[in-house]
């Protein structure tokens, strides 16, 4: 019996692709509505901003999405950003230059400082991995704890404020660099690169595939020879590393290691993953969807700003939008199956 490949759009695309396309549709609709009601929304500059303003949340979203696909949370990423930024400043602040403790650091070269700071970020990831992958304690609790731990250490090192003095000039380069002749920041480029890599990882690598398998059926995954604990550990380390990179870039951009940086970013990362179609039941989701979700979130928040709504509207909007998205996705998938 020969098998035929059916290439009808309706059947042969995966459910993930279906949802991603669905959310793109939602994005287009929302965008159209925003253009209709918000003055000056339809400007090329504005549209580019929709993607570039959120670059840090999108990088976080990569790690968070992969972990959500396996059925786990990572709420520690915001704290890790703060920690890495602060450490990158502290490690390369000139040593013994001032009476003010906050102006003294360890005097290491910038490159070394960055490397060490990233290692510390991965330390947070390792703590997550130990409790979650090894001791099998629910990830929501652990990552809340490590979130506080990371941010707390950042607060201690900056005494609740920031470290922004005695920094080498090179400190402010990465975060403020743009591509020659354009106004595209290097950070945005890094974000795009990472998203592309993540997408390749998700669709084309064995390791990416394993992520889905673990999320779809952890028991079957184990019986099929997948080393679940090891894989989860890698994902938590990667998530922490991504947060670390973001922290370095942000600290560089603002030329300061600030302990209050990235407050709430972990929540935004979760929101854009959910908007992108990730199912907490596991085994389903895509970084591409997450990216679309990020743009949707951008449209909503900047439309709100454009309509002169106060920033206080953000919380309510994010909650409502997420809720509607969850229901809509469920509805769409049910219709597709039935």
């Amino acid at each position: 019996m020969e098998t035929k490949q059916r290439h009808t759009i309706g059947r042969s695309i995966s459910n993930e692709s279906f949802i991603s396309i669905f959310m793109v549709g939602v994005l287009v609709v929302l965008f159209a509505v925003a253009c209709a009601f918000v003055p000056n929304f339809y400007l090329p500059k504005n549209m580019i901003n929709l993607i570039t303003n959120n670059w840090f949340v999108i990088i976080l979203g990569i790690g968070v999405t992969f972990l959500l696909i396996t059925g786990n949370f990572d709420l520690s990423v915001g704290g890790t950003i703060a920690l890495t930024g602060v450490l990158s400043a502290y490690f390369c602040q000139a040593a013994n230059v001032s009476q003010n403790a906050l102006a003294n650091g360890l005097g290491l070269p910038y490159g070394v400082a960055v490397g060490l700071a990233l290692l510390c970020a991965m330390g947070i990831g390792a703590i997550n991995a130990f409790f979650i992958a090894r001791l099998k304690i629910p990830s929501i609790i652990i990552t809340l704890g490590t979130m506080m731990l990371a941010r707390g250490i950042a607060q201690v090192i900056t005494r609740g404020a920031q470290r922004n003095t005695s920094l080498p000039d090179v400190f402010g380069v990465l975060g403020n660099m743009s591509i020659q002749g354009t106004s595209i920041k290097v950070s945005v480029l890094i974000m795009i690169l990472l998203v592309v890599l993540a997408f390749i990882f998700e669709k084309m690598t064995v390791s990416g595939r394993r992520t889905y398998l673990i999320g779809a059926n952890p028991v079957a995954a184990r019986l099929s020879g997948i080393k679940v604990g090891r894989h989860l550990t890698s994902l938590y380390l990667i998530s922490a590393l991504l947060a670390g990179i973001t922290g370095i870039l942000l600290a560089s951009e603002f030329k300061a290691g600030v302990s209050s940086r990235a407050s709430g970013y972990e929540f935004d990362a979760l929101v854009i993953s959910l908007l992108g179609g990730v199912s907490i039941a596991g085994g389903f989701g895509s970084v591409l969807g997450m990216f679309v979700g990020a743009v949707i979130l951008s449209v909503v928040t900047s439309a709100a700003t454009g309509l002169l709504l106060s920033p206080d509207w953000q919380f309510t909007l994010k909650g409502v939008v997420t809720f509607i998205a969850i229901l809509a996705q469920r509805f769409a998938l049910d219709r597709r199956k039935g």
Binding site: K4, M204, R209, L213, N217, S224, G225, I226
Partner: protein
Amino acid sequence: MKLTDNVLEIRDLVKDFPGVRAVNNVSFDIKRNTVHCLVGENGAGKSTLIKILTGASMRSGGKVLLNGEDYWAHNPKEAKQKGISTLFQELNVVDQLTVEENLTLGMEDTTFGFLRKTDKINKMVSVMNSLEPSINPRQKVSTLSVAKKQIVEIAKAVATESDIIIMDEPTAAISESEIARLFKIVKGLRDKNVTVIYISHRLDEIFELGDYVTVMRDGRHIDTKPVADIKDRSELIRMMIGKTVFEEYTPKEGACKDAILQVKNLSNHKLKDISFDVHEGEIVGFYGLVGAGKTELARAIYGIDDYEGEIIFKGRRLPPSPDKAIEAGIALVPEERRSQGLFTILTIRGNVPVMNMKKISINGFINSSQERKVTREYIDALRIATSSTEKEASKLSGGNQQKVVFAKCLFADAGLLMLDEPTRGIDVGAKSEIYGIIRRLSAEGKSIMIFSSELPEIMNICDSIYLLYDGSLKATMRNGCDIDSEKIIHIVTGGDVTSGDRPNATEYRGRGD
């Protein structure tokens, strides 16, 4: 409500599934206040019949009369309310509550929500005490042994005035002394106006406990008789298996090959000192009924459960974990294909290569065309009924799902395949296709271990047959020589192995050694 002689009357009961009639015009009566045993091989239709009584499944035709009135339960809760309680192997108690709390669960007397200590509680506790006085009603159920938890469930059923208590293989997980106590309780239930439907494959228990026995085979009712009228085990066994004609088994030719797997003195919570060898190219069957330890044996070898003893595979000690087992060359087709074998939300293509991703990837990158090609090859080779590699696994029929699991394990290039209940819940056509696949694999030199509770399956394809009962290896025999299926049933239902009868018969080791 007039109390009829028969508490339950089953008339022309039919249950159809797509492609198979699981219950075929079954009619018999169950007399009030008796212990009525239900026996039959795997696939005889007992479990389907019970599911209809407990509301887990709906009948396709026929009638069931409870106390003379038409009975229909749409779910287990309704069945319980109408008077049929069931004791399953998965205990239905809340561990974190006390015995007393479990007994009264759902039936508390309250004043404004406050739990009151009323006569009802005392009555229930006294029912409990009459069954087993050593259980303290204040203790947490989690501290009780499995046997005592069963007693709590029985007490609850009795105290809620169930007409019928169905017990499904209740002795599978409890010790001998606890079995004796359970029997005393079961016999005493007759005096408490309860009828017991007792399902067990341990024929000795039937003789000890039963007033009546109903034998089913192939979905049909064979006979219902008073136990006293049955001469001996053989008569019962004959009723169970009838004149089963087994497919011609062709013995393998060629010299005896080396042992690829050597299991020595394997013991754990269920298994008792099991030792055997599997040779290259051999198809070995492990036959036993529920609770015999088949799945536990497969899990131990695969490295999922802990064990004591030695397992040597291809000359080396086998490390106890699934990924190492797969690396070494063993693949397991698990017992529950939906929850353990398949990734149901993924497609066929998503499932097949999972156990050997190296073969469809280069340097960690998946080669999609290779992946699709391989999937199509297996779809063709195993004749999986689908038009596309992109079909969601959950949408396939049982037989096709099992073929996908097979494909998955075959792709792992394992030298040894362990198949746990490979054709459970699969229609006849798919079954024989799978047997063909197994024979082909053996011809290609693969070794195969089949764990099954279906005798025809074992008899059709296995070269060697190991019989398991209660965690022990009771006997081994080579297929092809005169196999006495009655003798086999006799052994797997707990009968004594007479030594000297067969070559390589393993002595029964008593408990407590």
